[in-house]
């Protein structure tokens, strides 16, 4: 799903899906793979965006947002999932809607071995605490998957993580 100039267009498609789902808060730890989506939200005056010092903060913020009547989305990379585990007790035991979009590292053309342990642990750790995991390997599938995940989260009070394959994100350039 690349535009004529080769730029990826899926971040814009995801942004439209999340806006259609009435997302009003976005929280994130900066991440290269999420850059375009983060920038779209930062430019949106109708969505409150919060930059975090560590990912589990966003899990708690999402619960607070829902207490106050707002839907939210949490953006992070796979290494951040490990930071979230105990805080996920809150949405899991309280059945708070939670939608996490997780860009994967450590699984495709990865140059940094330090990314690999948490990459391996990402899906099992999420599933162990009770978060439903969906994965997308292509841009087309990603947009549909996030749309489905948003329904699971906001309509069915689900705790859902969409893992965005590193192959989709492309080789990291240095």
């Amino acid at each position: 799903m690349d535009g004529a100039d080769g730029a990826q267009t899926w971040p814009t498609a995801l942004y439209r899906v999340l806006k259609a789902a009435e997302v009003r808060q976005m929280a994130y730890v900066p991440d290269a793979g999420h850059t375009a989506l983060i920038n779209l939200f930062l430019a949106d005056k109708d969505v409150v965006s919060t930059v975090l010092t560590t990912e589990e903060e966003g899990v708690a913020i999402a619960a607070g947002a829902w207490l106050g009547g707002q839907r939210s989305v949490l953006l992070m990379q796979s290494s951040g999932v490990g930071n979230c585990i105990n805080m996920l007790s809150l949405p899991v035991i309280g059945r708070f809607p939670l939608l996490m979009l997780v860009t994967m590292r450590g699984e495709w053309a990865e140059f940094n071995p330090w990314q690999m342990p948490m990459s391996r642990a990402t899906q099992p750790a999420l599933e162990a605490i009770g978060v439903k995991v969906l994965r997308a390997e292509t841009a087309e599938d990603l947009v549909e998957t996030v749309s489905a995940a948003a329904a699971l989260a906001y309509d069915a009070d689900g705790q859902v993580a969409v893992l965005i394959g590193q192959r989709l994100l492309g080789r990291k350039k240095w």
Partner: protein, 195 residues
């Protein structure tokens, strides 16, 4: 002369007296019991776990409900687990969020082991360094009563006050542990339908 330390239940009761439409989030352990002892209400959200999350639940709520005042009542140990949260809150600068740290300088829930605040770590000074609009350390009931009054109106930004209390363990006053029930009750109070 040394001023005797505040009793935690008396301090929290004073903080919540005539609270009006204040929304309250509690940190796990004694603050949850203290707030429940002051009166169980639909506009309380009690945490029984997720240590380090209370202030940030308050942030998400304050951002979603900018017309309402939000007060997070938590303990020194709970807030120490989330020092970064103070930076995140300071950057968002919500005018309707206040944190009250009930500081007994110990981990009451696990056997009264000493916490960092008894060794010179000053959460109010950390909040101030982060850029909170107001912060302070309170040791007397009149100071707590003045804070309760101040919390009824918005500030220039987030506030954090440490309330120093005695390290005792009053009888537990326990709200429902059913997080879904408490959530739906809180949301219904704000006019939102159950999911």
């Amino acid at each position: 002369m040394v001023t005797p330390l505040l009793e935690r239940r008396a301090a929290v009761a004073a903080l919540l007296k005539d609270r009006g439409d204040l929304l309250v989030v509690t940190g796990l352990g004694s603050p949850t019991y203290d707030v429940h002892a002051a009166g169980d209400r639909d506009d309380n959200y009690y945490l029984w776990g997720a240590m380090g999350g209370a202030a940030l639940v308050g942030l998400g709520l304050a951002l979603a409900q900018p017309q309402r005042q939000v007060l997070v009542i938590t303990g020194d140990g709970e807030q120490l687990m989330a020092l970064g949260a103070l930076a995140t809150i300071a950057v968002k600068r919500p005018r309707n969020l206040a944190l009250a740290v009930i500081d007994n300088q110990h981990y009451g829930e696990t056997g009264m082991q000493a916490s960092h605040t008894g060794s010179g770590i000053d959460l109010a000074a950390i909040a101030s360094a982060c850029g909170f609009a107001a912060s302070g350390v309170l040791r007397t009931l009149p100071e707590v009563e003045a804070l309760a009054q101040a919390l009824r109106s918005t500030a220039e930004g987030p506030r954090l006050h440490v309330i120093k209390v005695a390290a005792d363990s009053p009888p537990r006053s326990m709200p429902a542990r059913d997080a879904v029930f408490i959530k739906n009750r809180f949301r219904a109070h704000l006019g939102f339908a159950a999911g």
